[in-house]
């Protein structure tokens, strides 16, 4: 058996996580440079990704939400027991960004709720486009008084999940909030949520609305806490959704 054949025979165990760490790293390195094995790994990985769906959903207890929130809000989160993996990480862990801890905690909780029981899925679906085509990023850019602000929109259509990660927002002012809008040509802007950034100007917002059919996402400063039914000013943070 050639070296390639030997390594190819390890692709199925690799996608199932059934290799020792050293073997796994060898296979990973080979796959990076071998289109044939990379295609095979991608194909088999999509199959493995369906296996957990066979397991019954279990509703997570309410206390788990509190545990995750508490752990995420703790000042020494880096000490959380996350270092026992026997698998090499796909990428090295980046430096922590303490300033965004609260918002990522909120995002984690939102995601926890969304995948309650770990296996929430939208379904038995018609043949869908490849997973790598189902999540898209857009950028919102600040102008004028919000020129230092920016946001990244992650549209994960596979999960019906839209997250907006804001950075560098100025405080909206006493009694004021930021309001997020979806805009399409010929229609009134659709309000999809209000929020106040943390003290560093960061915030992750979960948008409970599909972006389909909308061309622009924008943010305005509105009276709090409920915001306005229609924007009261020209947006100074916005971006195209295409």
């Amino acid at each position: 058996m050639s070296d390639h054949e030997e390594l190819e025979s390890l692709v199925a165990p690799w996608v199932l996580g059934a290799l020792e760490p050293g073997e796994s790293e060898i296979v990973r390195t080979h796959i990076d440079g071998c289109p044939t094995c990379r295609d095979l790994a991608g194909r088999l990985s999509r199959v493995v990704g369906e296996i957990p769906v066979a397991v019954d959903e279990v509703a997570p207890p309410a206390r788990l939400r509190e545990r995750v929130l508490s752990a995420a809000s703790a000042p020494q989160v880096a000490a959380a027991p996350v270092a026992i993996s026997r698998r090499p990480a796909a990428t090295s862990r980046p430096a922590r960004r303490p300033r965004v801890i609260p918002v990522y905690a909120a995002a984690a909780i939102a995601l926890l709720a969304l995948i309650a029981g770990l296996l929430a899925a939208e379904a038995v679906r018609a043949p869908s486009p490849p997973a790598q085509l189902q999540a898209t990023r857009f950028t919102l850019t600040g102008h004028q008084q919000m020129s230092g602000a920016q946001a990244t929109v992650i549209d994960d259509r596979a999960d019906g999940l839209v997250l907006v990660d804001f950075r560098g927002l100025p405080q909206p002012g006493d009694g004021r909030v930021y309001e997020l809008w979806l805009i399409r040509t010929g229609s009134n802007p659709l309000p999809v949520g209000t929020f106040v950034p943390d003290s560093t100007g960061a915030k992750i917002v979960l948008v409970d609305h599909s972006l389909s059919g909308y061309s622009v996402m924008a943010v305005t400063n509105e009276p709090g806490p409920a915001g306005s039914p229609a924007p009261s000013q020209q947006p100074q943070l916005y971006g195209n959704l295409a």
Binding site: P13, V15, G17, V55, E57, L64
Partner: protein, 150 residues
């Protein structure tokens, strides 16, 4: 997988903390958030399993029948997920028992291919071959149901 609700909660918590710490590395080009989170939770569970004694692991059930289903908040979603689950279970059931066994031992049991070869008393090459065949058959079955592409 873990046979212990407390351990399962630990695994979920640690997986979410790991995801949180690596949130900036999420790359939508490589897959969905759902897949990322499920993989993180599964990998953390496997880490727990591999940190336990083999004797304890052998006594563990691979699947729990006592799991209580999530109360449906969306009837359509519940029905769709139920159908998807049924299709994946049918696909698993369609496998020859020796192929299903290696997949279950690896995916849900967290055993390595060497451990599976020892446990099932078959050659390592046979284990690798069964894994490949099992995943190819699952893929073929699931493609026919529109659950996986390519």
């Amino acid at each position: 997988m873990l046979g212990d609700p407390g351990r399962a909660e630990d695994a979920v918590q640690e997986a979410f903390m790991n995801v949180w710490n690596r949130a900036s590395t999420f790359d939508p080009e490589r897959g969905s958030i759902r897949a990322w989170l499920l993989t993180a939770v599964r990998n953390r569970s496997i880490d727990y399993l591999r940190g336990r004694g083999s004797r304890e692991r052998e006594e563990r059930e691979l699947q729990s029948d006592s799991a209580q289903a999530l109360s449906p908040s969306d009837p359509w979603r519940e029905v769709a997920l139920s159908l998807e689950r049924e299709a994946v279970r049918d696909a698993m059931a369609s496998l020859p028992s020796e192929q299903r066994q290696v997949v279950e031992l690896a995916y849900f049991g967290g055993y390595t291919q060497n451990e599976i070869a020892d446990m099932t008393r078959v050659a390592l090459g046979t284990v690798k071959g069964r894994m490949r065949l099992a995943l190819e058959k699952l893929g073929s079955y699931l493609r026919g149901r529109g659950l996986v592409d390519v």
